[in-house]
Amino acid sequence: MDWINAILQGVLVGGLFALFAAGLSLIFGVMRLVNLAHGDLIVLGAFLALAVVTGLGLHPLLSLLIVAPVMFALGYGLQRAILNRTLGKDLLPPLVVTFGLSIIIQNALLEVFSADTQRLQAGPMETASLQMGAISIGAFPLLTFIVAVAVIGGMELFMRRTALGRVFRATSDKAEIVPLMGVNPKQVFAIAMGVSLVICAIAGVLLGVRTNFSPGAGPARLLFAFEAVIIGGLGSLWGTLAGGVILGVSQAIGAKINPGFQILAGHIVFLAVLVVRPQGLFPRTRDK
């Protein structure tokens, strides 16, 4: 029963990993940018929520009403002012600039919030659980998973059914051609980065209620997000969810064997997938 419980917890955490990955995947899909500051932006979302929660006394989930628009604006501005200049054939500028941003965000958070670990207090929902025989499911992990499925489902619908989603897909296919149809790719990239940071904000709040976080917590989130994307296969959002779940279950099983193996088990499963099936489990050619 212990094992079933552990695996179930892993599945639910996998939803959070998929949420980390969704924003990263969107940016790569639309503009082929790999954002090395992605994990730090998730942690920034958590800290902004902390500031709103302590400042205004709001519930962490309600703080998103303020944090999400702020993060959208930040992403939009960041893309327009800085990241758009790095896009091109050369691989180095986007990597160096986002890596630099990662260091800047970490140290700015350190300067403002100190190195202490923090947590978002969500009240009774943190400890509530659903009992099903010998298996108990935490209400909050379940909520996290449902949110992850909803966000990924919503993105999938947005990409397929809306006019803006069509513009995203067209820009992803050929950014050089869309200006002929009256689309400004730089504007599209900025909106995509804004959307990615809104997902970061949601992921950050869920992360902050679930576990302790500190200014240095970003890089590990980036690696989990990246592993979920690669395990699932590039370009497939549902694949990313599956990748997150596989990663979450691997970590849960690793932790059950030995607490020191938790993260290692996830990395090893990722490397194994890379060796056996480098295109990922559910690749889609659209965003190759």
Binding site: V34, L36, R85, P93, V97, I104, L110, E111, I263
Partner: protein, 345 residues
């Protein structure tokens, strides 16, 4: 027909060296010679600073070789610093090999580990390769943290008999460390320069400019990248062994630090100039000047360093040395061949 028209080779000469670079190399040689006598005229704290400067320069040269010439942007070079450091401890402390012999052996072990590492991370392309190398470094860190004989997560100190085996007196030990570091720095520059001046360097320059074009001219791109990766791992492993010989203590967090062995190194190369041998040299000097001026500011120092790196990448992507080349056309280590036209006689 004139003599010159019949014998074009008399009118043209292909050369790499320029007047500036010839004098520049002489000046560099004099500086290195003066530094070789450093233990006579440097005090202890400056000698330590020079050791640090030397190993950062070696790391920067290797990252530049990977990113600037091999097109391999790695965020995981700390893997090989850590492997070099840990295997130096294993070889010197557990196998009883003399420390100065243990350093090259540790470098070789790091290079051997680079082979399976490459087999996995080379499956990822471009930017995803960067994060893949980071995951590989994390895996090595987590594995070493599990090894009880090496002190697990808290690490271990170099046993006192190994420390004594380097040299009897403290002064001599620090001098030996200093010379090893200087040798590593000079050696890394010479290695990259030699590599780029060779036939092989032409292939690398071709890959840097255009991979498909290089491949169409018969360059085995995958093999060239693989070799560059293993060479960089070897020298990075040597630097790792030296770093933890100088520190006398190793732990997984220190050995596999992405900040110390990759972030700073990337900033050094970007600020100095990617894709030029002079870039890492200038970048290392600028880095240590900045650190001397700003290190008291704590995390503000890192914010400023990050801003400078981002600013340089956006405004002067070829770095400070790139600006100097554009403006004055000077080069210390010229690798491209130029055509010298002789005056008509």
């Amino acid at each position: 027909m004139t003599d010159a028209a019949m014998h074009p080779e008399k009118r043209f000469r292909v050369a790499a060296m320029t007047k500036f670079s010839r004098y520049g190399l002489i000046v560099m040689a004099v500086i290195v010679l003066a530094l070789a006598f450093g233990p006579l005229w440097l005090d202890r704290s400056n000698m330590r600073l020079m050791v640090e400067l030397c190993y950062m320069l070696a790391l920067a040269q290797m990252w530049n070789l990977l990113a600037g010439y091999g097109g391999l942007v790695s965020v995981g070079q700390q893997a090989f610093v850590g492997l070099g450091g840990y295997f130096f401890f294993v070889i010197a402390a557990f196998l009883g090999v003399p420390p100065l012999l243990a350093i090259p052996l540790a470098g070789l072990v790091a290079a051997v580990f680079a082979i399976p590492t490459a087999a996995v991370v080379f499956r990822l392309k471009g930017a995803y390769f960067a994060i893949g190398t980071w995951v590989a470094a994390e895996v090595y860190m987590l594995v070493f943290a599990q090894i009880g004989a090496l002190g697990g997560g808290s690490g271990m100190s170099l046993p006192i008999d190994v420390v004594r085996a380097i040299a009897d007196s403290r002064d001599m030990r620090e001098a030996v460390t200093y010379w090893t570091a200087l040798g590593l720095a000079v050696g890394s520059v010479a290695l990259v320069y030699g590599l780029l001046r060779s036939k092989y360097g032409l292939a690398l320059a071709a890959i840097r400019d255009s991979e498909p074009a290089a491949a169409s001219l018969g360059v085995d791109v995958a093999r060239a990248k693989y070799i560059v990766y293993v060479i960089a791992a070897f020298v990075t492993g040597l630097a790792g062994a030296l770093i933890f010989l100088a520190k006398l203590r190793i732990s997984p967090d220190a050995a596999f630090s992405v900040m110390d062995w990759t972030a700073y190194v990337i900033f050094i190369v970007v600020i100095g100039g990617v894709g030029r041998i002079e870039g890492p040299i200038l970048g290392t000097i600028v880095f240590f000047i900045l650190r001397g001026l700003l290190a008291d500011l704590g995390s503000f120092y890192l914010i400023i360093l990050g801003l400078i790196a981002v600013g340089v990448m956006l405004l002067a992507p070829r770095g400070l040395w790139g600006l100097a080349v554009e403006r004055f056309g000077i080069e210390l280590f010229p690798v491209q061949r130029r055509l010298d036209m002789r005056k008509d006689n």
